[in-house]
């Protein structure tokens, strides 16, 4: 056949439709403890291109040839994949190994199947895959990856030469799982976020009391105490939910040192209001205003956890519900207990004022520290 010097790749549909391009299939399951297991199916044609399998050069790959090259193939493919696990405490590169070798037939030919095992050494919230197989020999190759966190449904992602790395989140698998995970995160955060707890408790210290004749007096009915509590908690919830959403959507963006310092100051002011309640007659208003600042603090935590991958709405909803649940838990434990001891002098004369002063002290230290962090 006489050829012109030009490449007549000019009839569009013919080419792509004759065969499938090169893909490998990587499936990984990571358990809560950080153990990895999985399998990696790589086309024999691709292994031939990457490492070389057909030793006698007869254009045929036999099982004997494949087995003989197992160690080299394993070393090669494992050097082209990095799995990094992450959670709140940091990141770690997972170990990866492969023992054994099988074969599978896919629609476009035979594939070598490498069982994978490994350990990430931490309980992962996210897995980052960096995939580099074959790109230097076949720029159109893709890794089709399926990652499973424990028994969640798998998350599929395609990695290519232009997109070699992807982080998959524990909750990205489905909506309900995302909601559950962020709900747990919300609860967790409010329970360990002592500045938020302290603020809430500070406001609630006197919920069972009433300021009369220059001193705290016990409230008579549980009903009164509940109305006050509910007002404070509702106000706090409404405004912190608002700013949490605004900040998570990227509509409000303040530097974290400013937010964190402001949170410390709200705690201090809350405590101060217990000492001089005359100047702070409506405590729910204080909860309403300061809730705006605490919401920004929650948003910072949420963005540290990472939002990519999952649905923002579900994430926000789950996290927010978690925060409210944690908050409700604290209120339900504290308020009835305080109600029971409200008549005691220890509570009214000692616990409230001394506690408040202590809180002012702690909050001042935080404020100074956090402001200092800005310089």
């Amino acid at each position: 056949m006489i050829r012109s010097a030009i490449l007549l790749l000019l009839l569009i549909p013919a080419l792509a439709l004759a065969h499938k391009p090169s893909d490998s299939y990587l499936s990984l399951t990571v358990e809560d403890g950080g153990t990895l297991s999985g399998q990696w199916d790589i086309a024999l044609r691709d292994l031939e291109r990457a490492v070389g399998v057909d030793q006698n050069r007869d254009a045929v790959i036999t099982w004997g040839e494949l087995k003989a090259r197992r160690a080299e193939l394993r070393d090669h493919i494992l050097s082209r994949l990095t799995v990094t696990a992450g959670n709140e405490d940091g990141e770690r590169v997972c170990t990866l190994d492969s023992t054994g070798l099988k074969v599978d037939d896919h629609v476009d030919g035979a594939y070598a199947v490498f069982p994978l095992s490994g350990d990430c050494g931490l309980s992962p919230l996210s897995l980052t895959l960096n995939y580099r197989l074959l790109f230097d020999r076949d720029a159109s190759h893709q890794g089709l990856v399926d990652v499973r966190f424990g028994d969640q449904t798998g998350q599929a992602v395609a990695l290519s030469n232009q997109h070699r790395e992807q982080t998959l989140r524990r909750d990205g698998g489905n909506g309900l799982a995302a909601l559950a995970t962020f709900f747990r995160q919300g609860v967790h955060h409010i329970l360990i976020g002592y500045d938020h707890i302290l603020f809430l408790l500070t406001l609630l210290f006197p919920a069972v009391l009433v300021w009369r004749q220059g001193a705290w007096q016990p409230k008579e009915s549980m009903r009164e105490a509940l109305v006050t509590t509910l007002g404070i908690v509702t106000a706090f919830t409404v405004t912190h939910s608002l700013t949490l959403a605004l900040a998570s959507l990227g509509l409000v963006n303040l530097p974290s040192w400013l937010v964190e310092s402001a949170i410390a100051i709200t705690v201090g002011l809350g405590a101060l209001s217990n000492l001089v309640p005359r100047y702070f007659p409506r405590r729910w208003v204080m909860a309403l205003v300061f809730g705006l600042i605490h919401g920004l603090g929650f948003a910072a935590v949420l963005s540290d956890l990472g939002l990519e991958g999952g649905s923002l709405v579900l994430t926000l909803l789950g996290f927010n519900l978690g925060v409210e649940a944690g908050q409700a838990l604290i209120v339900l434990i504290f308020v009835p207990a305080a109600f029971l001891v409200r008549r005691t002098a220890a509570y009214r004369r000692w616990f409230v004022p001394i506690g408040s002063i202590a809180i002012i002290a702690v909050a001042s230290v935080w404020a100074v520290e956090r402001l200092g962090g800005a310089w």
């Binding site: 012109s4 549909p13 065969h19 076949d138 720029a139």
Partner: protein, 411 residues
């Protein structure tokens, strides 16, 4: 996994039982797969003997000399000339074998230059040719514009630009590109390029007549250009409703190159349109490993009431399912045709045809879109195609029935 029978070759010494198992298991999986609507199940296995052949590696004629070039490139990684020659071999192999893997090999070969900011225009044109082959049309155009600005004497670049713009329905741009290719590529290529565009923009008959006259008179047309020319002539004849003339061109092209996949599929479409599905099956049966052939086998199989029709349909479904896992799925037109003709699911076909229309605007894309809209009982769904056809004064006998329907409905 019906493909296993062709992928795993037989080795001597295997018992009859094994042979039987290999025949029945895929059949069983196929049955189950079909019954439950999913695609076939497979499990990794350990081959029984070291001699068992797992995979035959293709050894395309087009790659003759590739090993030597690869070796030379390994010794001198910055040798542009060698890299370009190797990339061209890979692109040719991709075209001949219909195997997109070779396009990936070509890209990887050119990667050191492509990754730098000032890739030479010749490299950019090759990269664009690869991008076009992978249906990344927008990127191909971008690369071509850059390259041709720097060096307007690259005939390959203009031709590729003409093809990409034509597929996207930008006929004036495409015609300009064809004109710019004149004197840089063989005359036959320039004329085929121009006639292809003109045939889609209101000048079908004169474009056909002129190219046909050239084809019968010229003696110095390189074979690959001649095949391209006959392919386009066949399509133009069919566009006019002249099916016999179309067949003459298909045969003329196939006499030069019996292995041309595009022409073979076109011939199969012609046979199906002529209600000769049995002949189409005979033509394509040896090429069932190729998706395009499989699609037509499934269609012809139904028409011929062939008992293998379900098997072909299931194989095509499996291939599409595998291909759809990739990030870039380039088979929308074919999948739309499959949904419409084989699975008789016009709604699904319509969705696919509509998606496809965003990136591809060839007559076949119009046909499947219009046909799906009509089958779905919603002819107005394909209004954008009708507008496009009117705007460009496009004539095509195959599209006419769908357009008449609209005229009647409108009156």
């Amino acid at each position: 996994m019906p493909m296993t029978t062709s992928c795993r070759a037989t080795t001597k010494g295997r018992g009859i039982l094994n042979q039987l198992r290999r025949l029945t298991l895929p059949g069983l999986f196929l049955f189950l797969g079909g019954a439950f609507g999913g695609h076939a199940v497979a499990a990794p296995y350990t081959p029984e003997s070291d001699d068992q052949i797992l995979q035959r590696l293709p050894t395309p004629e087009a790659l003759e000399g590739a090993d030597a070039l690869q070796q030379r490139l390994a010794n001198a990684p910055r040798d542009l000339d060698t890299a370009e020659r190797l990339a061209r071999l890979y692109i040719q192999a991709a075209q001949r074998e219909g195997d997109p893997r070779y396009l990936g090999y070509a890209s990887a070969t050119l990667a050191p230059w492509l990754e730098s900011a000032d890739a030479p225009p010749t490299v950019q044109v090759l990269a664009a040719t690869i991008a076009q082959g992978e249906h990344r049309f927008t990127q191909a155009r971008h690369l071509l514009r850059q390259a041709l600005k720097e060096n307007p004497r690259l005939g390959q670049g203009w031709l590729t630009l003409a093809v990409v713009t034509q597929v996207q329905g930008q006929y004036p741009d495409s015609l300009d590109a064809c004109r710019n290719a004149a004197n840089l590529v063989p005359t036959g290529a320039t004329l085929t390029c121009q006639a292809s565009v003109l045939a889609l923009s209101g000048q079908l008959v004169p474009a056909y007549t002129k190219l046909q006259r050239y084809a019968s008179a010229a003696t110095d047309t390189p074979d690959d250009v001649a095949v391209w020319m006959q392919t386009r002539l066949a399509e133009m004849a069919w566009q006019q409703g002249a099916r016999q003339a179309a067949l003459t061109h298909i045969e003329a092209g196939r006499n030069i190159d019996r292995d041309d996949r595009y022409l073979r599929n076109l011939y199969a479409d012609w046979l199906i349109a002529e209600s000769r599905p049995g002949a189409a099956i005979a033509l394509l049966k040896p090429h069932a490993d190729q998706d395009g052939a499989l699609l037509r086998l499934a269609i012809a199989g139904i028409a011929a009431e062939d008992r293998r029709a379900d098997l072909w349909a299931q194989q095509f479904r499996d291939r599409m399912a595998a291909a759809q896992r990739s990030a870039e799925f380039a088979h929308l037109r074919e999948l739309a045709r499959f949904k419409l003709t084989v699975e008789q699911d016009p709604e699904a076909a319509l969705d696919l045809a509509r998606d496809n229309w965003r990136s591809q605007k060839e007559p076949a894309d119009m046909h499947v879109y219009l046909a799906a809209a009509q089958a779905a009982g919603d002819p107005s769904a394909a209004q954008d195609v009708r507008d496009f056809i009117l705007e460009n004064d496009l004539q095509d006998a195959r599209l006419a029935p769908f357009l008449d329907h609209r005229a009647e409905a409108g009156s």
